[in-house]
């Protein structure tokens, strides 16, 4: 996997969160020999190209939920992977909803539906989330943490994970980019 560009949409409103939530994704993409292109959602997303990874952000940061119109250009773009805050946005764009719920720390995720992104069985994952996804519209759950949705798909190339795969599940990002090969 070398050469192609990967768009990373930065979600943090605070600059000090960029190194925590965006830089690790940039590092993973670069280690794969791909070229990360980072853009913040506030810069305008009209010209972004897939494959796209939407980052997470800090727990107190809910600015993205007040700027949902900024993500409208992503409505029909695939392949796209949302992480935590990014997954919340994708769920809302695809007809899902959010509910308050706190998951902070490492929890077991159980994959309940065979899919190309997540290996079957159980895996530990690191969560940093206070808004969980309610599956409605096109949002189809793939994995759960307890009875909460931990990962979903919404169309063939749209995935959301409520945890931070860059911590314990880097393989998910690698697999997503591998699935996106035709676009790289």
């Amino acid at each position: 996997m070398t050469g192609g560009h990967v768009t990373i949409i930065a979600m943090p409103v605070q600059r000090l969160h960029m190194d925590e939530f965006v830089r690790p994704l940039v590092d993973i993409v670069a280690r794969l020999g791909l070229a990360p292109r980072v853009i913040h959602y506030a810069e305008g997303l009209r010209d972004v190209e897939p494959p796209i990874v939407l980052s997470g952000t800090g727990i107190m940061d809910y600015a993205y939920l007040e700027r949902l119109e900024a993500f409208e250009p992503l409505r029909d773009l695939e392949p796209i992977l949302g992480i935590c805050a990014g997954a919340q946005v994708l769920a809302l764009l695809r007809g899902g909803a959010l509910t308050d719920g706190e998951l902070i720390g490492t929890f077991d995720v159980e994959v309940r539906r065979t899919n190309p992104l997540l290996p079957g069985g159980r895996a530990r994952a690191y969560f940093l989330v206070t808004k969980l996804v309610v599956p409605r519209g096109d949002v189809e759950p793939l994995a759960y943490v307890g009875e909460n949705v931990a990962a979903f798909m919404a169309g063939d190339g749209t995935y959301g994970v409520m945890f931070h795969p860059e911590v314990y599940n880097e393989d998910i990002i690698v697999r997503f980019l591998d699935l996106s090969k035709g676009r790289l």
């Binding site: 600059r15 000090l16 925590e20 800090g58 727990i59 107190m60 720390g105 314990y168």
Partner: protein
């Protein structure tokens, strides 16, 4: 935004503090937890009481709290005081890889309605070491807890030679010591207005467990006041 820096006195929390200040955040106070037990899972242990002198060197106030069995309760209490007394809206920590540590900091901040920043999170361990030296940090190794780190390292300043040696041991240890393989104590960094000089210290080392500490007995501030 006004922040409190969770400060252990070691290189990682010092680097995180520098990153925050450079980005324009107002670090108004240091918060330092001083474990009463040597096996604290959450806090860096050796020489934690000397963080007050490091704070003085930086011209910052410090909240120091002794930590007993309930480490999370002590952290909450210290952060509550930082918010009440200094009006901080968030904390910055030097967490790099430990989800155990990071999750506890995140939960404590959330309970108090504070932002939580971990600017070194998932950073390549060798890059952490390199950045501290490139910035001119001066620090010593104050504890070792992993083979093949030996007694000779205790009290030693970390220079490029030591850093290269640590990076060469990545098969055995985390090169930046994030897993507790070694601990550090900062004597100088760019935000320090004065330098610390160790006058007296003792080594304790066990060849059976490959663990040891350098206990600072006396340390003074030098340079302009």
């Amino acid at each position: 935004m006004r922040l409190a820096a969770l400060f252990s006195g070691g290189k990682d929390s010092t680097l995180a503090l520098h990153r925050a200040v450079e980005l324009g955040y107002d670090v108004a106070v240091l918060v330092s937890m001083v474990p009463e037990r040597g096996d604290s899972m959450l806090y860096h242990v050796p020489n934690a009481q000397w963080t007050a002198l490091q704070a003085e060197a930086m011209g910052l106030p410090i909240i120091q709290r002794g930590v007993g069995d309930d480490e999370e309760a002590a952290l909450l209490e210290a952060l509550r005081e930082a918010a009440r007394t200094y009006g901080v809206e968030g904390i910055v920590t030097g967490a790099v890889r430990s989800t155990f540590q990071a999750a506890r900091f995140q939960r404590a901040a959330r309970r108090l309605g504070l932002w939580c920043f971990n600017p070194l999170w998932l950073m390549d361990q060798r890059a952490v070491l390199r950045e501290t030296l490139e910035r001119g940090f001066k620090y010593i190794i104050t504890a070792v807890a992993a083979y093949p780190l030996g007694e000779d390292l205790l009290g030693r300043p970390v220079d490029w030679g030591i850093a290269e040696a640590l990076m060469g041991l990545s098969e055995y240890i985390n090169p930046a010591g994030e897993g507790g393989e070694y601990e550090t104590f900062v004597l100088y960094a760019p935000l320090f207005k004065r330098r610390l000089r160790i006058v007296e210290g003792d080594r304790k080392y066990s060849r059976e467990t490959y663990t040891g500490e350098y206990i600072i007995r006396r340390v003074v501030l030098e340079g302009p006041t």
